[in-house]
């Protein structure tokens, strides 16, 4: 799975997610990616999220919308992403990761899986990582 979130100079927010799905999946299986609120959500009032990970687990907790709900309550992108991923791990034993932005242009790349390749560009600086803590 791959994904992106962005805020433009007008403050408008968008997300995009695309996937080949799950290795050796059943024919016709649709995971979280195509489902609004699960594989992506964007709202100028709260932010945007693009997830990746255990698709069925992401759908059970509607991960993107869950994280944005926490952000609408005042959490930072990092806090809300960690809480959403922790909820998914605790309630349905699902692992994954997200990239998240808020309307102020604050961002997070967080994951509970072993690794997640990510990169963020802002103000002429490129941040990136693969392993936890980078």
């Amino acid at each position: 799975t791959v994904g992106a979130v962005a805020v433009d100079e007008d403050g408008n927010i968008a997300c995009a997610t695309s996937t080949g799905g799950m290795l050796n999946k059943m024919e016709g299986r649709v995971g979280d990616t195509a489902c609004i609120g699960c594989g992506g959500y964007a709202d100028n009032r709260a932010g945007a999220v693009s997830p990746t990970g255990h698709g069925e687990a992401i759908m059970k907790v509607t991960l993107a919308r869950l994280i944005l709900f926490h952000m609408a309550q005042g959490m930072s992108p990092e806090e809300a992403s960690d809480l959403g991923l922790a909820t998914m791990k605790e309630r349905v034993e699902g692992l994954g990761g997200v990239v998240t932005v808020d309307p102020q242009g604050r961002w997070a790349a967080r994951f509970t899986s072993t690794q997640m390749a990510w990169a963020a560009a802002q103000g002429g600086t490129l941040h990136f990582g693969v392993f936890s803590g980078e």
Partner: protein, 166 residues
């Protein structure tokens, strides 16, 4: 407002020999998407540019390089959403399309629906003039190797589980 663009290339366990490819791929996609923002275009243009870049990179499980279903075929899903209007478009179980993210955007912009699936999504792609590509052209040797390995009766359960990350 300081524009920002963040991308990911998927969660899971990346084999050691593919870590640098994955890292280089997300950096390239972030640069491509951010260049769109720097050019004064919209966040929607930027995320579609970044994800198109990732779909075209065989290091990732989307577009060219997608994992295979049990029959050894590619079936892809994609979604876009615009935070200004809450407009959204998605496709699921779509085949023979190089860039499903661009098809998802067309669903958002050209229909009153949120998601088109399988054959209907393919029919819509043809109606929109989106070129079809042979299914095999989206399959990499790496994806075929993982598919075969996972079919084996003695498949390593840890490696099999890694593939269960969508």
């Amino acid at each position: 407002m300081l524009p920002v663009l963040v991308v990911h290339g998927g969660a899971g366990q990346i084999p050691k020999e593919r870590v640098e490819m994955a890292s280089a791929g997300v950096r390239a996609a972030a640069r491509a998407g951010y260049a769109v923002l720097q050019g004064g275009r919209s966040s929607m243009d930027a995320v579609v540019e970044a994800v198109t870049n990732l779909e075209n990179n065989p290091s990732f499980n989307a577009g060219y390089g997608s994992v295979l279903n049990v029959k050894g075929e590619v079936e892809m899903d994609a979604i876009v959403m615009d935070g200004r209007t809450l407009a959204s478009g998605a496709v699921s179980a779509v085949r023979n399309i190089a860039n499903p993210i661009q098809l998802a955007r067309l669903v958002m912009e050209q229909t009153s629906h949120l998601c088109l699936t399988a054959g209907g999504a393919g029919q819509f792609a043809r109606a929109m003039g989106m070129p079809e590509v042979p299914g095999d052209s989206l399959i990499t040797e790496y994806a075929r190797m993982r598919w075969k390995k996972n079919l084996a009766p003695n498949a390593n359960p840890v490696e099999s589980q890694m593939g269960k990350m969508g």
